[in-house]
């Protein structure tokens, strides 16, 4: 099981819309808007690194996402 925190930056005025769409993605456990360096954090859980890769690529296709930074937990 791989746990990761995906930090997302978005087009400034689309933060809420992006959050809603990210929350709908399977394997996204939780997601929040943040004050600070990143606009959104998505907590994701994947069975395999293959699945994690798919998840991240999926988040990156959400409209108005500008960049992502994945922080994988060391299990």
């Amino acid at each position: 099981m791989t746990l990761a925190f995906v930090m997302v930056n978005t087009v400034p005025d689309q933060m809420e819309r992006v959050l809603e769409e990210i929350k709908e993605i399977e394997r996204v456990e939780e997601a929040y808007m943040l004050y600070g360096v990143y606009d959104i954090v998505a907590v994701v859980k994947a069975e395999t690194t293959e699945e994690l890769k798919g998840l991240i690529l999926r988040i990156r296709t959400v409209k108005h996402v500008l960049s992502t930074l994945t922080l994988m937990a060391i299990s």
Copy 2:
């Protein structure tokens, strides 16, 4: 009362226009163009964190804003 410093980056040649619009927003106490890592700092004061959230989302809708970084004061 929550005090926060909202650091703003803008489309390069729209810095002055963005500053003018940010200054008009209610609860923005002061705002300045900066030399350095951020283009503009807006000093904002909100009664509640709910209001702060609204303020930041409002600043992010200003045209030509590229990104914001909110530094909240620890009261």
Copy 3:
């Protein structure tokens, strides 16, 4: 209720010891070592911003912590 992600950097060879001590702190829900820019993430929940402040100051006193970055969720 305030949720925050506290990103921690530590003295390089003390990461595991710091993690253990952070996990013991009340109000720290979860904490993990990370690959990447930050060494540890601590997920904290506080009733008030006053309590959050105390929590962060507490984490900062853990021996071998070098710096912290608090990402507060916008509720």
Copy 4:
């Protein structure tokens, strides 16, 4: 008149002590602890750039200051 925001990082468990000492420095208008990338912001006002230089060098001598980043306002 030059206005500047001096962002300060400190030894983790000395943030409050550093804040108190910075607040005592002449020409420091306000200073706050912050959540986020920087530990403290000091708002300083100097008559001349010569004076600003002195102020920044003064803040850098405060014990337990690790680094400073000066954001000068474009007047």
Copy 5:
């Protein structure tokens, strides 16, 4: 012989396409998608700094590349 690691950021949903195109460029020894701060790393080898310059300018013309950061090895 100059060895360099070119860190690339891309339009979020074009990471795989950019990787494929970078891999085709002569003198690019290896290239990988990354978790973390950069989206892609390209390991390049150039005979001269003149050639390295050409290589980097070439990578920067790949469609959907947003930015590059070149880390040159000290030989």
Copy 6:
């Protein structure tokens, strides 16, 4: 006399064109493309901070400039 180093990032494949245009700006003493975090450095000299402000705003209007970071020398 104020000396400043203006670090510029550009649209990836327009680095050379931006460099040529920046070099033409009065008060820009020198300008170079860089390997590394910034794409271009422009060394500028201004008589007054008023003039420096004008210079930076001028550089920011150059087409394909994405962002600037001004590092002012402490004289």
Copy 7:
């Protein structure tokens, strides 16, 4: 098989010594000093994520290492 690029920063005048020690670590394929943001890059290959964790913790115990940033390749 997991491939990762471990970016290392060191005590300024100990860069060469750290490089030599890192090169001796098993599973470190290559390591170089760098110009730029990081002082050293170590290219590591691990059979399992368990082994990768061990490798990174091992690199972090090298004397004079100040911080590490692990960029894992998406396989």
Copy 8:
């Protein structure tokens, strides 16, 4: 001929002393204290990359230097 800008960070209260020592180093053309992200910039010129390496390693041995970032000009 290789031109490089070496950005230096120092122990906070030793910035002036470090500047004086860096200015004495051969091949350092100019050096200034900076407001902003870096404390000092040293402009260096080397005949060969071998010489540049020596120069950077020399700057890194100056007492109270915390870190360096070398930005090499693309000639």
